[in-house]
Subunit: 417 residues, 2 copies
């Protein structure tokens, strides 16, 4: 079945609002055996008529979001009814719901809210538990404006995500499932690989993965990681994971929809160990990412942002003469920061980062984007230091450097567990 | 001029990636006097040919994102060249750039990366400062596949946002500006207001703003701030700012496209003062946000993540019996953390946060989402503490609490300057 999505809303095209409906609906259609073949965003107004006409004879299901509300630019319901040649009728059930909804909020019905009570004849009402505007489902019917061609299944959904999501899950998914039956054959998995480039990953695994037969393969580069997306049968996905894990024993870190920090916190939790962090150039991002994971308080008790040299000396015991001899951005200082952080925090592991986030501050020997990342562990005698150069903007640099630090921790932990 | 946007990428339709290009490009086209009339997302593959054909004779400018990379599903460049009837030629400049780029990362050129060196004859290369794949600009030309119709201006941009954004700003915007000239009539401004709700803001300013005449008005709620978007003449925007500033003297903080932390760092820089931060529940996010701003090293020398009670005692001198008496999440501990942070850091101001990020950990008196935020300043005798409850998820809580802390700092500084 071919599914198309139409998002209406001038705010989407002006950029004031990020369109999250596409990704949310895409993720929630996949388990039903459906995918969005084409998504279109258009401004509020009567262009929706043209967009719907385009889908006739091409799509099986069309989902439309937005334009069902009470304000003057919300005309999706009216224009769809007109296109399908259906008169609008007051719906008693919707009227009762909106009256209850407004009364519970001490608001009153007015002509604007009353428009939402009008339902095209023959459409199925989708109850809106979290707002006033109902959703609507139109079964296929011949459309005069399309030369008598049969319309797709058309489903109108409210724009606010908190209204759309439960309506889709509770009411739209069952309708769609009644078309598709139990398709269950294909599954999707995203395998995540840290610290390698997209080309490096694809050249290594593409041939063996494609030899698995009829699978779909895609790659996506994120800061410091590459995602290999595979769609196939359960057996093919298991084989794909074996190939990827064997190809990148050090770098492959998860097939789950979780970030790298989640894997690191999980490893620490299972080992009953703790970590501390001393950050210069990343300014708190590594700690922030670790503490995004529920349960992080069991594995991280304290962390330090030591931007200034004096902070490195006061808080981590980095010797003043070592700073003078090597400069704050150096292998030696990263190692001393990690060793000091390990000692003063009492944690089992300590990460330290020192680098040049930019803009500016670089030199020919240490260009902007240079970072030294160290890890120290109670059970090891010496810190290990990695050196990277991420010549991008400040935000990109922080993302890449924090990713490399978390991966350094993950690799050490996975060798110890 | 009619602008259309085509986003390619199977990951966008499967929902693995949120499409942020639409909103970013929408926001950045507006100041050029341009808006996106229609945005389409399609999977990787040869459907891009059909999508481009559709725009012929309808659009003046078509922006295409994605599909320029080295992997097998990246075929936007090849298919566009084919559609326009242009042969691919090795480009020496692109080759030299990619070789330099890979060498600085200790990676090697291979047949996959080499594909990116091939440029359609007559296309203008848009240099990619942050990646390998160049962007491409095609001036209008007759297209045989479209019956000889003239193609729009076609601009191909790389998918990764860190590559696309600078390329658009530095190279695409000047090209577009050369078409539009100085349109100058309407401008858009986004006024940012911290710490108030969307309804509170809109009910206060809607009437006076609409009385300015023919303007376009929109509202957008973000974590801890409301953005009022006004489109109108320069004079109308100046009047709108006066209305908003007078309505929210404490809460209105900028008409620039900068985050709250930028305003706070600017104030500190102008005052020649410094800040330190002691974070419990936000785990480093406040420091991370401050250090996102170039020049932050002049205003922040050190900061602390004190998740564990012992860390609050060891690093900030919070008395053990005070922790026992009030609990770590309390007005008293927030004040003691801020006072301790001010003392030990030597900074002019200190922020401290203690709260319950969730999930779990709440109680009837202190529900999940509770946070106490304190500010201490050298020039004031006592810390000031604010109490908030943000009953949302962990990520949302951290965003709201960090925003409230930065706003507390901003308000104090703007009263002192």
């Amino acid at each position: 079945m071919r599914v198309e999505l139409i998002n209406t809303g001038t705010e989407l095209l002006l950029g004031s609002t990020v369109n999250t409906h596409l990704s949310w609906l895409g993720e929630n259609l996949f388990p039903l055996g459906l995918r969005i073949a084409r998504q279109l965003a258009i401004p509020d107004g009567d262009i929706i008529r043209h967009a719907l006409l385009e889908t006739m004879g091409r799509a099986d299901v069309v989902l439309v979001t937005g334009g069902l509300g009470p304000t003057s630019d919300d005309i999706t319901r009216e224009l769809t009814a007109e296109l399908l040649g259906l008169p609008l009728e007051e719906n008693a059930e919707v009227l009762a719901h909106i009256q209850r909804y407004l009364a519970s909020r001490k608001r009153e019905m007015n002509p604007h809210t009353h428009r939402q009570v009008m339902v095209p004849a023959g459409a199925t009402v989708l109850h809106n538990a979290y707002g006033t505007a109902p959703g609507l489902y139109f079964a296929p019917r011949p459309v005069a404006a399309a030369g008598g061609a049969l319309s797709p299944h058309i489903i109108l959904l409210p724009g606010p995500p908190r209204e759309l999501k439960p309506m889709f899950t509770d009411q739209v998914a069952p309708i769609l499932r009644s078309f598709t039956g139990d398709t269950g054959a294909k599954e999707m998995r995203s395998f995540k690989i840290a610290g390698l480039g997209e080309t490096q990953v694809s050249t290594t695994v593409e041939e063996p993965l494609l030899s698995l037969g009829d699978i779909e393969l895609g790659y996506c580069a994120r800061p410091g990681e590459v995602i290999v997306r595979v769609i196939g049968s359960r057996e093919q996905l298991a084989a794909a994971e074996s190939i990827i894990a064997a190809s990148f024993p050090e770098n492959y870190f998860t097939a789950e929809d979780v970030p790298l920090e989640h894997v690191a916190v999980d490893l620490l939790t299972r080992m009953g160990q703790t970590v501390s962090v001393a950050e210069s150039c990343t300014g708190g991002l590594v700690s922030h990412r670790i503490t995004n994971i529920p349960g992080a308080s069991h594995v991280l008790g304290r962390a330090f942002v030591t931007y200034a040299n004096e902070a490195k000396t006061d808080l981590l015991g980095v010797p003043v003469d070592m700073l003078a001899a090597h400069g704050a951005v150096s292998r030696e200082i990263a190692a001393a920061m990690a060793a000091g952080c390990l000692r003063t925090s009492g944690a089992d592991h300590a990460l330290a980062l020192t680098g040049i986030a930019g803009p500016g501050g670089g030199s020919p020997e240490k260009p902007t984007g240079t970072v030294f990342i160290a890890i120290a562990s109670k059970s090891r005698s010496e810190p290990v230091v990695e050196h990277h150069v991420y010549p991008t903007n400040r935000e990109g640099f922080k993302a890449m450097a924090s990713q490399a630090a978390l991966d350094l921790l993950r690799r050490r932990l996975s060798r110890m567990i």
